[in-house]
Amino acid sequence: MEPIVTETRAGWPLYEVFVRPRRGLNHVHVGSLHAPDDRMALLNARDLYTRRNEGVSLWVVRSDAITASTPDEQDPFFAPSGDKVYRHPTFYDIPEDVPHI
């Protein structure tokens, strides 16, 4: 049998979808989808990720436009913050009887 039409393989790009669940919250990544262009990506994202009032605002961005760090926990990219305990409030000993600090 002939291979099936594969026109979308090089065609519809992948988009990442971000939903703001309600006012006051950040947009959060919820998943991805394929669409031929930005507008269709937005419409598809609405139909796919907000069928039950999950959001009040949507972002879509082409996946290939995202710059990412390497994902691993052992990634040396995050090493600079690893040894700076003095950035945390609990690093400092303050007597119990000092109020409001």
């Binding site: 519809w12 992948l14 989808l33 139909d47 069928r51």
Partner: protein, 323 residues
């Protein structure tokens, strides 16, 4: 940069790190190093799951134009739309493993990847819509809730979304059946007939018995799977028996009886040869299901092409404007 270069570890170190992440109940994410067999297992399982959602629209879609009321029709449409959504969440999860969705579609319609055997049975009456919601989606929920804690992050997250929506599916089915059971004698018979036909195939949804499920041990070690097929089947039976009593239907299993010692229901052995036949393609609707999916895919090709051509034209126009 690949993960291998980033961490600077040789493969044994990577594998040890992978094992540690799994053992610590943390999640593996798309760009992490993972054993090839873990990746292949996930692609196979997620693809099969996605295909099941997509093919699963057909048995119920059979009743969309003949739903007995506008209310039932709107509910059934919403449910079919959810199934499409579930398929897409899952295809997106599979794609994070480096496979293309169009390749998965191709594998489905050329018969190289499977979907759940349950969808190869026909929906003969409208009561089947209710029984599918109650039993088939009920069994799916039993299978899927533990998958929300699957070790592969994108799959687990897709399952969280899916499980929330499946609850609507099961409840609408049960409510539909309660309505029929309050109706005429003929309607009650229709429900019982549907239960008689769907009960055993629903039990088969959990897969072959543990002794005959060669991949289970590895999947459990990888925390893809959390419970054995037989454990999940038992859990489903225990959940369903009281629901059947409440509904007033009889589950078609003479061996079904409460076992005080185990605190569970004993039940009969499904006909595993039937499951094998259906998986091999000899079920009542296998050909029809795949053919319809193929036709939808091929008939939709011009839409995909037109949308792409339009997008390219718009991009070219915008490029010309900027010059």
């Amino acid at each position: 940069m690949t993960a291998t270069e980033a961490t600077g570890l040789a493969e044994p170190g990577l594998e040890a790190h992978f094992d540690e992440v799994i053992a610590a109940e943390q999640r593996i994410e798309p760009r992490d190093w993972m054993p090839d067999a873990y990746r292949a297992t996930l692609i196979r399982q997620i693809a099969q799951h996605a295909h099941s959602e997509i093919i699963g629209m057909q048995p119920e879609g059979n009743w969309l134009t003949r739903a007995p009321s506008l209310r039932r029709k709107a509910i059934l449409l919403a449910k079919a739309q959810d199934e499409a959504g579930h398929g897409l969440y899952l295809y997106a999860a599979a794609e994070t493993l480096g496979i293309d969705r169009s390749e998965l579609t191709e594998k489905l319609i050329s018969g190289r990847q499977k979907y759940s055997s349950i969808f190869n049975y026909p929906t003969l009456t409208f009561a089947d819509v209710g029984v599918i919601g109650w039993l088939v989606d009920g069994a799916a929920i039993c299978n899927q809730v533990p998958l929300c804690r699957c070790s592969y992050g994108p799959y687990a997250r897709a399952m969280v979304r899916i499980c929330k929506e499946e609850s609507f599916h099961q409840r609408q089915g049960y409510e539909l059946l309660m309505t029929l059971m309050r109706g005429t004698e003929a309607q009650r018979r229709m429900v019982q007939d549907a239960v008689d036909r769907w009960w055993w195939p629903s039990l088969m949804m959990f897969g072959p018995p543990d002794g005959d499920s060669p991949n289970s041990a590895q999947s459990m070690a990888w925390r893809i799977k959390r419970h054995s097929n037989d454990d999940l089947r038992q859990r489903f039976v225990d959940m369903t028996v009281p629901q059947a009593e409440h509904l007033g239907v009889t589950l078609p299993d003479p061996a079904l009886r409460w076992n005080e010692g185990r605190g569970s229901w004993d039940f009969g052995e499904p006909d595993w040869s039937e499951l094998k036949q259906v998986i091999k393609g000899q079920g009542p609707c296998n050909e029809q299901r795949v053919e319809r999916r193929r036709a939808a895919h091929e008939d939709g090709a011009w839409v995909r092409e037109a949308a792409l051509a339009y997008a390219q034209k718009r991009r070219a126009e915008r490029g010309a404007d900027r010059d």
